[in-house]
Symmetry: C2
Subunit: 272 residues, 2 copies
Amino acid sequence: MQTHHHPLDAATALATIAEGRYAGATHPAYANMAGPFGGVTAAALLNAVLLDPRRLADPIALTVNFCAAIANGPFEIATKLQRGGKTTQHWSMELAQNGEICATASAVCGARKPVWSHGASRPPAAPPRETLQEMSGAGRPEWVRRYAVHFIEGGLADFPRSDGNIRSPRTLAYMQDNPARPLDFLSLAALSDAFFVRIMHARGTFQPMATVSLTTYFHVVADELAAIGATPLLGEADAAIFHNGFADQTCSLWTPDGRLLANGVQITWYKE
Amino acid sequence: MQTHHHPLDAATALATIAEGRYAGATHPAYANMAGPFGGVTAAALLNAVLLDPRRLADPIALTVNFCAAIANGPFEIATKLQRGGKTTQHWSMELAQNGEICATASAVCGARKPVWSHGASRPPAAPPRETLQEMSGAGRPEWVRRYAVHFIEGGLADFPRSDGNIRSPRTLAYMQDNPARPLDFLSLAALSDAFFVRIMHARGTFQPMATVSLTTYFHVVADELAAIGATPLLGEADAAIFHNGFADQTCSLWTPDGRLLANGVQITWYKE
């Protein structure tokens, strides 16, 4: 058994059973209220593609559908290379426990070329992280303690609230693996789900809620990530609408010097 | 053979072969440069779920991965109900031609309840459509003529440009099926891909480009859509980054009185 120095590596580690079949297990370091933190499940599903010897390029897009609660314990991931072209490969993945599908996913890998590039959007203005207080992980699920979060706007200092006031669902925060870890696609996939569900910020209440589907786009290649190494990212999350039990959520992850590494969306469910 | 009064109904019509197996065909009314307009392919994939007698609720999320060029002609869609709970059903879909996968997709259907709701984001300010000029479809692919587009910002009046100036990738426009058609999930799915690929707006050039993966969230139920009927929608599209051959794209679709019906993202490929 390989030793993993960082809990994210341990939590996303997969053993190859056969081509396109992998065994993994949930990890207590990323435990959520019930079962594992969804971001690590997303990272594990992506890792099944990253480990595949047929993979020709870095991931561009990842969509994960959380179909059912994942129990703490072992799981199996099956991958299928649906179609491969000169530029892109399309993968489908399924995560099962005891033969029951708990998550489905798709990933696109794509070969980048040194063609016209343009950073159309600029990162939000943010003060240096050193001037901000780190969110306390006390009393929070274990996975929350795997992230160093420094809120700039839209924090949870007075959460939960029962004043009935609705606030902006937007959060701006520095986010980093805790302990620090060099960035890669696994950590970006997990970070894209590491923002709290927006209803907590907008409404200030804690209630049954879950990510239903998560889509993350990567705007960086492995070599660039390796050169960036371990750094806090400036993260922005927002939501446009909460409608009768489902709400959208957006996220963007920037390097402190303004390079957009990943962005995406998720749709969340809430009970009441 | 059923007669369809609107080309979108004809282009997304499916014949049931067996449970979870459907036959469809591309339609000349939605022809793109090569093969069909991706938005109608997305709508056809969604229609396979909508037609399934096992479906318990309206669609919440749709992700379509365009794996390979679709040839003009017949195709087959296979659907699989991956997991169904009390609140959500998770579906996977595959579109094949001659046994080769051309697109994969997933959809989540979800039962909404009359719980706390909140329109957190407001639509962009826009002048009445009557004050705007309709985009000409002359010289454009056939599918473009299936939409009445009235640009407010970020139009294509001087496209293509070769001045080298980079503009904002953002577009604000009224969008409607042409001829007008009552809104439903099929038309929303197609509209979410009916914005031009953002590189055309930002760079002003026409070049090989394609949508690779498309994710759309629906924030409305069928009864609400039926009550809305046929109306132009206020559509906003933008992009954050164009990086070495892949670019993101966002879209939001609002009723003229400010109800967000759908939003989502796509990742696009461009050649040079």
